[in-house]
Every structure is written in C-alpha cells, then in structure tokens.
Symmetry: C2
Subunit: 358 residues, 2 copies
C-alpha cells in the first residue's frame, strides 16, 4: 500500500469501530474567524503548592513513595522521593471506612414506582482515588522530567493499578492526567490521578464488549488488526519503538488525538515489565514533547485504559493510552448529538507531529 | 410527597434513563483548591463583527429575515431586520450543489478488507448549516434581548427547523447555541446555529430508541412521566409556566444543567404555535437570566432536540431544550469513561436558580 497523502477537502464522516460512533472530519472549519485568542496557561501556584517538596504534611500520608535517583537530586531537602502517591483529599468516590452516612438512603425523596421503570435509580460508589505526584519540584508537564523520572512515574502507575485491580471489590481502575485549566486541572504541579471503582463505566464496558465482539467475528484482536493496518499504511503513524506505536486514530474525535498501544497483544498495563515500562514512558514523553512543540503549553489529558478486572472476556481487551490535546472546545452540537466535529484530519495531525523535532 | 431537602453528602451514582448512562454526583469535590481563576469572557470584536448591522455584505445572502419591531428600533440604519438567518460560511457538513469533489472517494488510501469488518468506514455528510443572527446590535447574550425579540428568535428556530425537516434527504436537524469561548463560540455577537444532516447522530438515535422503549413498556411517554414526577416532587424545579417547565434533571452530567420541556406531549418543536413560542422563549430567557445572575457572564450551550424526520416511531419522541452551563471542564476521567463527575447536586442547583431573582 502506498503512503499516499489522504487529503480531505470536504466534510466526511468516519466510523470509530471501537466506540461504534461516527465523527465528522471538517477541515474547512479551521478557516473561520475567531474573536477569541487561544490562551495557554502559565504555571502558577508555586509557594503554597501542596505537592511541592517540603509540603508533604499538607497531603494525606503517602501510600507509595519512590526514592529519588541520586543523579537527579537538585535540592537536598527533596532528596527522599521523586514520585509520591497519596490519597486524594477530595475523592470522587466513597472510600470504604471513611465514608459519611449516605443521607439519601434514609431520605429517599425521589419517587420510586412500586412497579415498572424507575426513573430515579441511584446507588453508592466505592473505591479509591489517588494522586500520583510526579516530581518534588514545581514542574507543570511530565515532559519536563528526565527519562528516568518519567519511567518512575510509569512504574507508579503500574504498581497502583496492580494494587487496586487485585482488590476484591474493585471492578475497574484507570490512570488519567489533566494538564492545564482547559483540561480540567485544578493544580498545575505535574501529577496524575487514579480512580478505582466497584462499577464499570459505560464507555469502558462498551469498549470491552466491542473488542470481544471483534474477536469472536474475526478471530483476531481489534487493536492488533488496527496496528497492523496503520503501520502498513503509515499516514497516521507518529512514532514507533520495537514494542509500541503512537498514531492518530482514523476516527479521532478531537484534533491531534493520539493513541499509544503495545504492538504485541497485552490486556493489562499493570503486567508490563521494566523494559516495556522504559519504552512506553519514553514514547509517551516524546509524543507529549512533539505536541508541546506544535502547540506550546497546550492543555491535554491522557488516560490509560487497562482491562477491567470484573469481566470474564478480558483476554480480548488490548490496553491503550489515549492522549487528548484540548485545542478546541466541545460545543452545542457535540453536547446534543455525541457526534464530534474535528477540524483537523488525523493524517494532517500525524504528519505535523512527525515533523515536529524533539 | 414532601418537598424534603435531598442532601447529598457523599458521592452517589445516578442513572440517566434517557441516555442509559450513569453519572457521579460528588458534592465534596467543590471544596478542593484551585490554582486557576475562573475567567469569564468579556464581549469583544465590535467594529469588525460580520453579524452587526451595516456588515450584511460580509455574510452570505440571508435565507430568512425577520423585520424589526418598530418600538425596538434603536439605530435608523439597522431598522430593516431584528433576526437574520444566513448560511454558515464554514459549514460542518457538505452543502449539496456547492460541495468540492471528495478526494477521499478517488484516493481510498485506507485499507478496505475484501471480507470481514472494515475498520476504516467513511461516508459523505450532506445537509445544511445556518447561522441565526439574533440582533443587529453587538449583544453577547440572548438575555439582553427584550421579550419580543427573543420570541422572534424562537420563531426563526421554528421556521428553519420546519424548512429543513420537510426536505427529502434530511433526517435530522438541531438548533444549538454556543455562548462564550469555553462553550465553543468563535464570535461573541449573539447567534445560534442550525445543522441539518442526512444521518441521525448516535446520541439522538439512542434517545429516540429509549423513548420508544419506555413507551412500549409503560404505555406512557418517558418525558411526560418525568415531568409529572418532577412537578410533584418540586426539589429540582426551576420555574414553570402553564405549558412549560424548567428543571435540573436528576442525573445531570454537568453542574446547573437545565432542561426545558413542554408539559403536554409534543414531538416536534417546529409545530409550536405562536402562543407556545411566546411562553417557551419567555421561560428560556428567564432561565438564562437566572443562570447569569448566579454566574455572571457564564459560558453556556443550549440545544433544541426535536423528533428526527426519518424515524417511524417519532410519535414517542418528546422534544426538549437542554441548557448546558460550562462551569467545569471535562477532564481525563470523563474522556476515558464517558462517566461524568458532577460536583453540584441538581437539587442544590435548582434551589439556587429558583432563589436567583430575575
């Protein structure tokens, strides 16, 4: 197959097989006028930052701590750790043992029909919510870390996912990162989060079901097939290592969205060995640097989706890291239709990312 | 049923029956610290705004124009119109007759398997994309219009929906509004948009299917049941008129999300009569003023979902107007799981909105 340029000069719809969802690729939309300047965040908050070294008492006690590598010691006072994992002080889920009484359970003020469909179904939500503080210094992007420290961060992801996904009550755990105000960050100091829950969120369940369905129909893993097609085609590839590949998916919902995948089938991120961790952390770091080269101080999210622990068909699950730069805003059409309008063709995004030297 | 206060002091999950999706209500999250200030947009762009009166030649020719009401004339030069509908110069869909050749059709550079599942499915997208300019003056919110002008805006929505939904090739049409940069607006001058397509977006199809399913199981319309339950309960009601009701839905994905519904079953917004238009435009205007009283210059979207014209079961569809204030950012967890964390319980939002005098 040739590396032919796939120009898109008019709107087209593309089907995201994994999510079973169509997106609109509309490159002509980029030409429209705008009253607003895209403002990128500058790092702030230094001095009273609870994640900085010396402020350890302002967070709950660490559940894991990774020692500083001596070569990277910059301040004597921060020499003890390079990565710290602490419980989130403001958890999105209820933490068993600490949860306050659920008042709604004793004051069920929403009508519950004695038969038929209940429009007011509610339930508790238990699990864990942790913060992975990625540096003792007040840095604002993981791209500012050196390769060894980045690898330590990924080791923390692996270890905490492994911890939570072997807990009895836990069904699902996800590591995610919010960088910049537009990506939902509230603190600038570089950090990630882990949420573990006793339920499986709808999109994750759907993705797991789709991967299983593909496997049943094609006798092959969906993501393995996708990797082989993308690598052969080349136009959407950003970068490859022997064991990993970064590319802009065919039906990207957002401009410059990037997926990083293990090239060999692997269901569980938490089973990565140290050599694989080194490669995937290196590739992620480079990919974020490419992105920041194109869009300085860009806000972004990334999410590591590993197989849920409560499904029997998890062998068909192929773990992935998804990187969502926040270059456009979700607008009314998207909220109303769940159909995203992406003004940057993934082929053009991938070409620009490849060309961005790092 | 009592108007008992439904306090939520810990996280809980709530099921959105219409979307068949769970959300996390996590009020304790509002206490967390933040390095960022919430910055609201100030109106700008006056002078070179293509939507201002006197600049009509900068937009395509109007497809509809509504005359100014004499009492509201402020400038002699803008006397001819109060609302103008023009084709979008940067359409998200291909406009039949104007579309450039689709190069992807002649350069299919993505691999297409001769049998089995196609991971690179694509198709064209045709329809219409219009802008409803809501005032000849450089206002930035529909709440700055007087009641008569607001009603004219809603008449334009009705007329354009009616036009598109009787076009043969069109399956779906939606009116939506983006106000403020955080809501995806690129121009500040108050305006809405209409997109009509020859396909049904996934969320709209799902909503239509869910409404039909509810009807089949309960022999009653889902939204009619919801209105009757919400009105009886009262805790989530914002305001009512004889024919319409505004409330914060039980399983709101975003803080202070508001739905406005006709109290009597109606599938098609475009069939509203003038008296109904007057009421719904008045209620929407008041609701936005309440929201702006609580959160000055807040960014928001609204979307009018009317029955698609290509489904046979559209009688079970109940049209709705959904108002999405953009007070929080969609972050990594949401992108990865499609499970939203809403830090403001809808009962608390509704109480605050009721108490905001307008």
């Amino acid at each position: 197959m040739s590396r032919m340029r796939e120009d898109v000069t008019s709107s087209e719809m593309r089907h995201d097989w994994l999510a079973d969802r169509w997106v609109i690729i509309a490159p002509q939309r980029t030409a429209r006028p705008c009253d607003f300047d895209l403002v990128f965040d500058e790092p702030s908050g230094v001095g009273d930052c609870p994640f900085c070294c010396g402020h350890e008492a302002e967070t709950p006690l660490a559940v894991a701590s990774y020692p500083a590598i001596s070569a990277n010691r910059k301040k004597e006072s921060c020499a003890e750790w390079s990565v710290r994992v602490v419980p989130n002080k403001f958890p999105a889920v209820n933490i068993p043992g600490t949860r306050p009484p659920m008042r709604y359970a004793t004051h069920p003020a929403s009508p519950v029909p004695t038969n038929g469909i209940n429009l007011f179904k509610r339930r508790g939500l238990s699990g864990g919510h942790e913060v992975i503080v990625e540096s003792p210094e007040h840095l604002y992007s993981i791209s500012q870390l050196d390769p060894e420290s980045t690898q330590t961060v990924f080791r923390a992801y692996r270890d905490r996912l492994r911890y939570w996904l072997t807990e009895r009550e836990i069904c699902y755990a996800v590591v995610f990162k919010n960088v910049g105000q537009d990506a939902g960050a509230s603190l600038v100091h570089t950090h990630s989060q882990l949420i573990a829950t006793d339920i499986l969120p709808p999109d994750v369940q759907r993705a797991a079901e789709r991967m299983q369905l593909f496997y049943e129909q094609e006798n092959e893993c969906l993501m393995c097939r996708m990797i082989s097609d993308e690598v052969e085609l080349g136009v959407r590839i950003v970068e490859q290592t022997p064991d990993f590949v970064a590319f802009c998916p065919f039906a990207s919902r957002l401009p410059a969205l990037i997926t990083i995948l293990p090239r060999q089938h692997q269901s569980q991120f938490e089973k990565l060995n140290d050599q694989e961790l080194e490669q995937v952390s290196w590739l992620t770091h480079r990919t974020i640097r490419r992105l920041e080269k194109l869009y300085p101080a860009v806000a972004y999210n990334f999410v590591i989706q590993t197989a849920p622990s409560c499904r029997k068909d998890s062998a068909s699950f192929h773990w992935r890291l998804e990187l969502f730069p926040r270059l456009t805003k979700v607008a009314g059409f998207e909220w109303g239709s769940d159909c995203f309008i992406n003004p940057l063709a993934p082929e053009d995004a991938a070409r620009a990312l490849r060309q961005a030297g790092v």
